[in-house]
C-alpha cells in the first residue's frame, strides 16, 4: 500500500501556494522537494506551504523543509508555512524550528505578508 502525499499548487498573486495533504516523512519528503525545485526552475521563488492537511511530521519531513528553505534562499526567494496542526506545531516547538520558519495562522495572512517583498 502506498499513500503518496498530495500536493495542490495554486498561485495567489506572485505567491505559489502548495497545499499539502498527507504525512510529511521520508517517503514524501523527496516528492515535496521535487515539486519546489520545479517551481524554482520556473523562477517562482515565493513559496507558501499550507500544512492544514498534514497530520504528521517527523525528522525526515523537518529536514526536507530546512533543505527547501536553504534552496529557496539561494534563489533569493521566501518560504512561509501556515495552518500547522497542533501536534505538528508541537514537533516544530520541540525541535526549535518554530523560530526558524515563518509560520502564519492561515494562508491569507501568509500571502498578505508577501506585500512589499521585492521580487528577485
Amino acid at each position: 500500500m502506498e499513500v503518496e502525499m498530495e500536493i495542490e499548487v495554486a498561485e495567489k498573486g506572485r505567491v505559489n501556494v502548495l497545499g499539502l495533504n498527507g504525512k510529511l516523512d521520508l517517503a514524501n519528503a523527496a516528492r515535496l522537494k521535487d515539486q519546489v525545485k520545479t517551481l524554482l526552475n520556473q523562477q517562482k521563488n515565493m513559496v507558501h506551504l499550507n500544512m492544514k492537511r498534514v497530520d504528521f511530521i517527523n525528522s525526515s519531513g523537518l529536514g526536507a523543509l530546512v533543505s527547501l528553505m536553504k534552496e529557496i534562499r539561494v534563489h533569493k526567494g521566501r518560504l512561509t508555512l501556515s495552518n500547522l496542526a497542533p501536534y505538528v506545531n508541537e514537533i516544530f516547538e520541540i525541535t526549535q524550528l518554530s523560530h526558524v520558519f515563518e509560520i502564519f495562522q492561515n494562508v491569507d495572512e501568509a500571502v498578505a505578508s508577501y506585500d512589499g517583498v521585492p521580487m528577485a
Binding site: 500500500m1 499513500v3 504525512k23 516523512d25 525528522s59 530546512v66 501536534y87 526558524v100
Partner: protein
C-alpha cells in the same frame, strides 16, 4: 569449582511456583496483596562443592501483580568507600521502594543504585551484575504485536496503519499515540536508511507491547552496528540549520523511556516506552 543456582518452575495455570536455591543470594518476591517482600532462601549449599547433597525445593502461591527479582551476588557484595557491603537488607528495601516501576526500568535503576554505592570504592573488582525481573500479569492484560517490514519507504504508510489499529483497539489517547507514532517512525526510518542502506531484502522488526501501564516498541534492524558507543554519546541538541540528525533527539524527547542496545546478531534495537497513565508510571 562451584556455582550458585536459583531455579524455578512457574505454573501459571495452577498459580504456583516451585523453586530451589543452591547457595544463591535469596531472590526477592513481592506479594502485591500483602505488599510484603520475601527472600526465597536456599534449600541447600553451593552446587558442585559437596557430593551427595540433597536440595530442598519450596512451593509458593503466585498472584497477578506479584514480582520476582533474581540477581547475582555482585549486587549484595558491592562495597562502598568504607569497605561496607551493600547487602541483602538494603537491596530488599530498594526492591520494595521500586515495585511501581516497569520491570525493565527497575532492573536499570537497581544497577545504577549499586554503581552509585560503589563510587569511590577501593575494590576494583566488579562481580557480575545480572538481573531477572519477572512480573506476573494476566495474558489478556498483556498484548504484543509483531511486524516485519522490508526496508523501503512505502512501508511507512503500512506502519502508520498498523499502529493506528493498535491505538484504536486499545483506545490509546492522542497525547500518547501522537508522540509514540513519531518516535517509532524515527526508529524505523533510522533502520531503513542507516542500518540497512535501503536494502529491501533486510527487514525491520517492530514489536509493540501494551498493558495497563505502558505501550512500548522494540525496533530491531538486521544491520551490523559498529558504533553504538558513538550513537549513545551523540549530542542530542537540535541544530536549527541541520537538514538531518534530529531523529534520535526526537525519540528521546517523545518517549518516557528510550534505550539503545545491540542485538545478539550485532544489529541495533531501539526500545521506546510511553506511559499510558502518568500517575501510575
Amino acid at each position: 569449582m562451584f556455582i550458585t543456582l536459583f531455579m524455578a518452575c512457574i505454573d501459571m495455570g495452577a498459580g504456583t511456583m516451585e523453586y530451589c536455591n543452591g547457595g544463591h543470594p535469596p531472590a526477592l518476591y513481592y506479594r502485591v496483596a500483602s505488599k510484603e517482600t520475601t527472600g526465597l532462601r536456599p534449600g541447600g549449599p553451593l552446587v558442585g562443592q559437596f557430593a551427595g547433597i540433597e536440595y530442598r525445593s519450596s512451593r509458593i502461591k503466585i498472584s497477578r501483580g506479584d514480582r520476582i527479582f533474581c540477581f547475582t551476588d555482585g549486587f549484595v557484595e558491592a562495597e562502598n568507600r568504607q569497605g561496607e557491603l551493600y547487602g541483602q537488607k538494603r537491596l530488599e528495601e530498594f526492591f520494595k521502594a521500586g515495585v511501581e516501576f516497569d520491570a525493565r526500568k527497575f532492573s536499570r535503576l537497581a544497577r545504577e543504585e549499586v554503581e552509585r554505592y560503589r563510587q569511590g570504592s577501593r575494590s576494583e573488582a566488579i562481580d557480575d551484575f545480572t538481573t531477572l525481573v519477572i512480573d506476573f500479569v494476566d495474558d489478556e492484560e498483556n498484548h504484543s504485536y509483531e511486524f516485519a517490514y522490508p526496508s523501503r519507504e512505502e512501508i511507512l504508510d503500512e506502519l502508520y496503519v498498523d499502529l493506528d489499529k493498535i491505538f484504536q483497539s486499545h483506545r490509546v489517547k492522542a497525547d500518547v499515540s501522537n508522540p509514540f507514532r513519531v518516535a517509532v517512525s524515527e526508529a524505523v526510518t533510522n533502520a531503513m536508511v542507516h542500518a540497512h542502506k535501503r536494502d529491501d531484502a533486510k527487514q525491520i522488526h517492530v514489536l509493540v507491547e501494551l498493558n495497563q501501564r505502558i505501550i512500548a516498541a522494540d525496533i530491531v534492524d538486521e544491520g551490523k552496528c559498529q558504533e553504538i558507543d558513538a550513537i549513545k554519546a551523540r549530542n542530542l541538541l537540535f541544530d536549527p540549520a541541520a537538514e538531518s540528525g534530529r531523529g534520535l533527539g526526537l525519540i528521546k524527547r517523545l518517549s518516557d523511556e528510550a534505550d539503545i542496545r545491540l542485538t545478539p546478531h550485532g544489529g541495533l534495537c531501539i526500545r521506546l516506552v510511553k506511559y499510558l497513565n502518568r500517575d501510575k508510571a
